[in-house]
Symmetry: C2
Subunit: 382 residues, 2 copies
Amino acid sequence: MLRQCATRLSRPSPLRAIAIRADCFATSSARRTDRAVIYAENGNPAEVLRVKSYDPLPPPPPGSVNIRFRLSPINPSDINVVQGVYPAKPTQQHVSGEDVFIGGNEGLAEVVDVGSNVDGLHKGDWVTLGKAQFGTWASTRVISAEDVIKLPAGGFSEVNAATINVNPPTAYNMLHQFVDLKEDDWVLQNGANSAVGQAVIQIAARKGIKTINFVRSRPDLDNLICSLTQLGATHVFTYDALSDKSLAKHVKQWTSKSPIRLLLNCVSGPDTTAMTRLLGDNAHLVSYGAMSKKPLSLPTSLFIFKNLTTHGYWQHRWYQEHSRQEREKLMRTLANLKLKEPEHEILDLSGEPSDEAATKRLRDTLTKIEAGFSKKVLLRLQ
Amino acid sequence: MLRQCATRLSRPSPLRAIAIRADCFATSSARRTDRAVIYAENGNPAEVLRVKSYDPLPPPPPGSVNIRFRLSPINPSDINVVQGVYPAKPTQQHVSGEDVFIGGNEGLAEVVDVGSNVDGLHKGDWVTLGKAQFGTWASTRVISAEDVIKLPAGGFSEVNAATINVNPPTAYNMLHQFVDLKEDDWVLQNGANSAVGQAVIQIAARKGIKTINFVRSRPDLDNLICSLTQLGATHVFTYDALSDKSLAKHVKQWTSKSPIRLLLNCVSGPDTTAMTRLLGDNAHLVSYGAMSKKPLSLPTSLFIFKNLTTHGYWQHRWYQEHSRQEREKLMRTLANLKLKEPEHEILDLSGEPSDEAATKRLRDTLTKIEAGFSKKVLLRLQ
C-alpha cells in the first residue's frame, strides 16, 4: 500500500522567479486593449461568459489604485459562482454600457496608478486580492487600497503569485489554527492531490510534520504517489485502503507517540467517516470542501467519548476577519515557504484580434475544464 | 404547534429540603447490614446483578474517608456499563471473598469516618463522586478524599443531591463552555424531556435565555408540553414540526435579533440534521447522547459557509480535568439554581430480610426499567 519514491523534485530557484518577472516587465509596455470576461446572468460558463473590450481607466480616486491583472486562475469555485450555486456573489459592474458581472476571484495584478491618500503601495507592486469575488478576469480594475494585499517583492513566481490567494493560505491556516502541531506530529488528509492538499503536504513537511494522504485510485496512481511523495508526503493511500483492517494497526504503530489530532477534509461521505476512526483523542476535523457531494456523517460517540471537534474553513471568511497588515504578513510567510507551482496551462488571450475570437477560445477552454481537464488554467488577457 | 401553559410549578421550599434531611438523619441510627449490588461479568442487568452483604468497613487509611451511600440512581448509562457497552469501565473490587464489580456511577453519600491527613471533610458532610464508575450501589465504601465532592450544607434535597453528579453539571457546562450566552439569546435542544434537557430549560430560564425544545410525540404530549413550559421552556415542538416549512420562518422571526448559536443534541439522526438548519452563523452543536442510535450527518457546507462547529460533551471528562475545588464550586453554583427534583421512585431495599429477597426486588425493578419505565429509580440500600 505504501509506495516509495526515490527522486526529489528540484525547487524553482529564486533566479528563475526573477527571470520571469523581468520578462513580464518587458512585455508590459506593449499596446493594449482592456478586456474583461463578463456575464449578464448565471448559467453554463461555456455559454454565458464572453470577452468584452472597454475604455482605459481614468486615474484612480483618492484611497484607490488602478491595477492591471497579469494572470488570473479559473478555479472550480469560479465556475460555481458563474453557475449561481456558490454562496458568495459578485457585485454588478458597468462595462462599456452594460450592467454585468466580471468573473474571477483570484489573480496576480500589478499596481499601475496610485491615487492620493494611499500608503505603502507603489507603481509596479505586485498585489493580490483581499476582497472576495472582486472580478479578476479583467485587464485593469480600480480598487480601494484596503482591498489589495501587497506581495513581497521577488517572493513568488508569477504563477505562484496568481494562485496564492485561496489554496496556500487555506492549507497554511488549517495547519495552524486548530491544533498546535509540533515536529513529528501527524496530519491526516483526503483529496491530497487537490491544490490545497499539495500545499498541506509541503507546508507540513517544512515543519517536520508527517502526513497520511488519501487520493482516489486512477490509472497513473504510481506517478501521483511519486509526485506527492516528492512534495513531502509521508504516506499516500487510496480510499480502498480504508477497508483493509491492517491499515488501522499500521497507523496506530506509526502514530503511537503522537496520535493524530488533525484531519483535513475536502471529500466527506463514507470514506471520510472511515478516516475519522484513525484519529486519536481530542482531534479536530476541518472541512474545506465536499467533493463526494455527500454529507459528513459521524458516530456521535466520537464527539462524546473521543472529544472530536469538527469545524469548517473558508479563506473568504479569514480575509473578512483580518486586516491588510495581517493579510500581508501571511503572504510573506507563504513566500518564505517556496511552494511548488501548481501544474497549469496558461490561456493567453492577449493576441486575439477581436472580442469574438477571444470569447471562442475562452469557451473552448471552459468546455475542456467541464470535461475534467486536470491542470489549473490561468487566464492572461493582455 | 406552540402550546401555552398557564400554571406555574411551585418550587420545593428550603423548608421541605430540611425536613427530608432531618428525616434521613433520624433513620441513620437504625441497625444496618452493609450490602452492595455486584456483578461478576457483563450481561443483562436483570440476570447478572445481585445483592451481597459484607462486613463493616475498618477505619479509613490516611487521606481517605469512609462514606455511607444514602441514595444512588440507576441511570441508563449504568445499565450500559453492566452490559459492557459503555466506554468507561469500573475496576474490580473484593466483596466478601469474591472479585466482582460494584454497579453505579452516581449517588449521595454521607461521610461517616475521616482518616488522618484529610482536609475540609467532616463526619456528616454530604458528598458526591468526582471519580467515575466508583460503584455507588453499596451501603459503605472507603474513598480517597480527593475523589469526593463536598456538597454545600442545605444546598440540595436528598433526591437532588443523589442526581447532581451527571445531568445538572452536563446541562450547566454545555450552556457555558461553548457560546457566551446573554439574556434573550436562544438555545435549541432535542430530547428536551431528558434529565439533562429539563436542567437545560431551567438553567437557561434562570438567565433569561430562551429555549426551543424538541420532544418525541406521545399520547400525553399536552401534559409534557405543559410540564416543560412550567420549567421555563419558551417553545416546545415535536420532531414532526421539522417537516413543516413554516417552522423555519417562525424561528427566524423569533430569533432575528439573536440567531441561534447553540444546539444541544442527545438524539442525532435525520431530525437533528433538520434542526441544524434553524441555526445562525457561527453556531456550536454540542452532542451528549445519541438516543436515535443513528449517526450525526451534516452537510459540509454548514461547516464551511456557516462556520458551524460540532463538539461532544462528557461530564466524566470534565471531572478528570478539574480539581476538587473547581468541582465543589460547580456544586455550589448548581445548589443556588434550586433545580426541580426529577420525577423518581425510590427502590428501598433496606428492609429486605436476605440478600436473595433484595436481589429479587432489584431484578424486578430492572426488568421494569428495561421495559421502558420512565421515572428515575433511586436505590436505597439501608
